[in-house]
Structures are given as structure tokens and as C-alpha cells.
């Protein structure tokens, strides 16, 4: 019987399987192994974690294929990788390498300041960042099968992720309260397709899985995001820029599952050593804010 690959159900379904889990940024096979042993549901293979991209500057691009191959060989869990916004050739390369999910990410330097990748043409599914509901729906309209809040990557400051989650879920709640004849204007205001706006208003949720990312550094941060309605958590620099990555990784995994149990979070938070140093988002000059990339 025919195998239909790359269908919406297969792409979105893959994200459903990651729910309640933690996806960790890793830059080599050793880190990937530590993440898998700690209970990560997937790893994000990249050349430099966001904190280093921020510190070192320069143009940040897709990872070296050899590095991705090594990470794929080291773990049995899904391997994701980042492509630059609008860089469809990087995405084609990542697909040919057999990565399991592509993150079209504002953490890398955008390749196109106008257009995102047309994601419908790919078999591999995409996750995209969003700061509000309109942005999330525009990405879904382009074929994204999973959304994550952007937050402010590489800072260890959770305030932007918090703001984006409140924004997205607040707008969803507002849509659900509207009369049907008010949804046309709502679609105009959100700058999103009417069909998707209507679907969100009816279901009271996004049609795809919503994770959170950007600035999550502690088990309590992860639990906070879950209690804000995230389906799961991306942790970038927070783990491997901290004192004890293996223990912190496992602690974040536990806190994500038991986000509603402060005793478990307290236990998970004990003896983790130093968290990543962190930068206050408010101290970042506007041109250095990654969340403002993408539109």
C-alpha cells in the first residue's frame, strides 16, 4: 500500500510526540549524548549556542553537515537543525541530510528580510518562532508544523518568552470571545489568513503544537512556561553554558513534566551549581535583539 510521506498529519504529528518534553541545543556529539541520557525528547544541532553567537557576533549560518552527521550517529532521539530565515537552500541541504525537523530561526542571521521559506514544498517539517498570534499564523500559513515563542535567545532572561506566551495565548482567548462576523476584521488586524483565524477562534488553540523558547535557564523557568500553556520547552544556551550540564538538563526535564508541583521543582533545583550568567534583555540595544528578526 502507498506510503504518503510529508503530509500535514505526519509533520504536525511529529511535534505532538515531543509534547511535555525538552529540546536541547547541542554543538557536538558529546553534548548530544548528555542531552539524550538526561531525557531530552530531541536535540537541536547547531554550531554555536545563541549566547556565543551573541558574544562573538558575525554572520551565523546553518551548521556544518559533518557535525550534523556526527550528532545523528550519536543519538537515537530526533535531531533538529537551524536554517536561516528565508534560506531555502540551507533548508534543502538539511532535508537531504535527514534531519528530523528544521528550525527556521531568528537566532541565525536572516538570509531574506522580506520572505520566509515556503515550507509546504518540503517533506521535513518546520518549526518557526513567533512573538504574537498573527506572526504564528503567518508561519503556519507558510507551512510551519510547529510554533515556538521566540523569547530572547542567549540571554538566560525569561521575560521575553513570558511576554510572547502571554501575547499568543491572550490573543487566542480574545478570538474565542468574538462573534463570527467580527472575525474578518480580527484577521485583518492580525494580518493573518481568515481561515486560520476562524479555526483558532473555534478550537481555542493553535492548529499546531506550541513550544516555548528563548532565555529559559532553570527548572523553574521551564515550569513557568509550561504553566503559561506551552506544550514543551526549547533550552538553548541554558544547559551547556551552566556549571553542571548533565544534572541541569535532567532537572529541567523533570520540572517540565511536573510543572504544577512546586515540591518536585524545588527538588530538581537543588545542587545544580551555577546557572548561565545571563544578560538582561532591557540592557540589550535594539539592533541586538533577535526576537525582532522575522515578521
Amino acid at each position: 500500500m502507498a506510503h504518503e510521506t510529508g503530509t500535514g498529519r505526519v509533520k504536525r504529528g511529529m511535534a505532538e510526540m515531543l509534547k511535555g518534553g525538552v529540546i536541547m541545543d547541542v554543538v557536538n556529539a558529546e553534548q548530544a549524548k548528555i542531552a539524550e541520557d538526561a531525557g531530552a525528547v530531541a536535540v537541536m544541532a547547531l554550531e554555536r549556542v545563541p549566547a556565543d553567537i551573541r558574544a562573538q557576533g558575525g554572520v551565523a549560518r546553518m551548521s556544518d553537515p559533518d557535525m550534523i552527521e556526527k550528532i545523528k550517529a550519536a543519538v537515537t532521539i530526533p535531531v533538529m537543525a537551524k536554517a536561516r530565515i528565508g534560506h531555502f537552500v540551507e533548508a534543502q541541504v538539511l532535508q537531504s541530510l535527514g534531519v528530523d525537523y528544521i528550525d527556521e530561526s531568528e537566532v541565525l542571521t536572516p538570509a531574506d528580510y522580506k520572505n520566509h521559506i515556503d515550507k509546504w514544498g518540503f517533506t521535513v517539517p518546520f518549526v518557526c518562532g513567533a512573538t504574537n498570534l498573527g506572526e504564528a499564523l503567518r508561519r503556519i500559513n507558510e507551512g510551519a508544523a510547529m510554533i515556538r515563542s521566540k523569547g530572547e535567545a542567549g540571554t538566560g532572561d525569561v521575560s521575553n518568552a513570558m511576554q510572547h506566551m502571554r501575547e499568543i495565548n491572550g490573543e487566542i482567548r480574545r478570538l474565542s470571545s468574538l462573534r463570527e462576523d467580527e472575525l474578518y476584521v480580527a484577521a485583518k488586524e492580525l494580518q493573518a489568513p481568515y481561515e486560520l483565524v476562524k479555526e483558532v477562534a473555534e478550537k481555542g488553540k493553535l492548529p499546531v503544537v506550541l513550544f516555548t523558547a528563548g532565555g529559559i535557564a532553570t527548572p523553574a523557568d521551564a515550569a513557568l512556561m509550561m504553566s503559561m500553556g506551552a506544550d514543551g520547552v526549547f533550552i538553548g544556551s541554558g544547559i551547556f553554558k551552566s556549571g553542571n550540564p548533565a544534572q541541569r538538563a535532567a532537572a529541567c526535564v523533570r520540572a517540565t513534566t511536573f510543572w504544577d508541583d512546586p515540591k518536585v521543582i524545588a527538588d530538581a533545583s537543588r545542587g545544580l551549581g551555577e546557572a548561565m550568567v545571563g544578560i538582561n534583555v532591557a540592557d540589550l540595544p535594539a539592533p541586538h535583539r533577535l526576537a525582532e528578526r522575522g515578521w
Binding site: 505526519v10 510526540m17 515531543l18 518534553g21 531525557g39 531530552a40 537515537t76 535532567a250
Partner: protein, 198 residues
């Protein structure tokens, strides 16, 4: 019937909805005392390594293993199938599972996510209607032991199997809105097994 859905990680919500559609109101299971309160269990899709890791951290691993061994009806989809298999191929080093089903399962057998697919399959529940099956980085059954019945196959690989108390599928019936598999588990596997105990 009191049915639990293991809620450590994965697509718990979809299994809960499927059960509700079958008229069963399940409990989410994250703690040993919650497990004690149910008669049957569903292990959802997700990452088998993560689910096992969390089960160990929260002292659920051995209680689940023991309940399965003592005949609690269980259904596992995808990661759930891996966790119910006595033997796994292409496992993570040192990966542990609950076991209970005398089968050998190959993890990610169909390939990576780009090879994930959906297809119509025949499911041996007495119906001639094809079942839409969604396979996501799915395992297949490489070898079945004695007393294992094969309920569905694709390309001559078993993808749905059962023993007297355990049902396992490589695919995700919880994603399609067709509740045949959940109904089969409740009516044909769990109810029968529980009746025998009484």
C-alpha cells in the same frame, strides 16, 4: 473501567480524547498512587527514552513493570510499543523498557522523520474497512514469540500485535479521529482480561 494514560511525556491529550470518544474517562498517571487506582493503562506516543527516564526518576518504572507482569491490560502506541517489547533493536545504549510482550521491535525502523508516512492498512478486528495509520519515526515488529497474534502488517512487517492482555501498534490511531483501535483495546483486550481476573 478505570483506565489511566501514562502522562510523563508525549501525546497524552490525544489518547485521552480518543478514550473519551469511546465513553471511558481516563486518569492521567504521573505518580505511583495514581497507577494503583487504575485497572488498565495506555502508554502514549512520545520518546521511549524520555518516558523511561522519567518513569525511573519518579519511581513509576518498577510499579508499571510489575503491574504489566501481573496481567494489567495495557495498550502502547509507537513509543508505547517499544516500552512494552521484551527485546529492542537499535536501542539507546542501556535503554530499559517495561516489557511484557514477547516480541522484538526495531526502533525507527522505517527511517527518519522524512520517511514518516500515512497509509491505509487492514486491521484484524473483523472489519473490512481500511484503517488510516500514521507512522512517525515508527518501530516495526521484527520477531514475534509464542502466543502473539499479529493484527496488522505493512510491507510484511507486523505493526499491530497483541497477547492476551497487551496491545501494541507502531502507528498512532490517536491522531486520526478513528477510534477503532481504542475501542478494540477496551472491548476486546481490557474487558476480557479484567473479566478473567474476576
Amino acid at each position: 473501567m478505570r483506565v489511566g494514560v501514562l502522562a510523563l511525556q508525549g501525546d497524552v491529550r490525544e489518547h485521552v480524547s480518543a478514550l473519551i470518544a469511546c465513553g471511558v474517562y481516563p486518569t492521567a498517571i504521573r505518580r505511583p498512587q495514581e497507577l494503583d487506582a487504575v485497572e488498565a493503562l495506555i502508554i502514549p506516543g512520545g520518546e521511549s527514552t524520555t518516558i523511561a527516564h522519567l518513569a525511573k526518576s519518579f519511581e513509576l518504572f518498577n510499579p508499571i513493570k510489575m503491574r504489566i507482569a501481573s496481567g494489567m491490560p495495557v495498550y502502547g502506541s509507537c513509543a508505547g510499543m517499544i516500552l512494552l517489547a521484551d527485546n529492542i533493536l537499535d536501542a539507546m545504549d542501556g535503554q530499559e523498557v517495561f516489557g511484557g510482550l514477547d516480541i522484538t521491535v526495531r526502533r525507527n525502523a522505517f527511517g527518519r522523520q522524512v520517511d514518516s508516512f500515512e497509509s491505509d492498512i487492514a486491521f484484524a478486528d473483523g472489519s473490512d474497512v481500511a484503517l488510516r495509520a500514521v507512522f512517525i519515526r515508527a518501530p516495526w515488529v521484527e520477531k514475534v514469540g509464542t502466543g502473539i497474534e499479529v493484527l496488522a502488517q505493512i510491507d510484511s512487517h507486523p505493526v499491530a500485535v497483541r497477547s492476551s492482555t497487551i496491545l501494541a501498534t507502531s502507528f498512532h490511531p490517536e491522531l486520526t479521529g478513528d477510534h477503532r483501535i481504542h475501542r478494540y483495546f477496551i472491548e476486546e483486550v481490557a474487558r476480557g482480561a479484567l473479566k478473567q481476573v474476576q
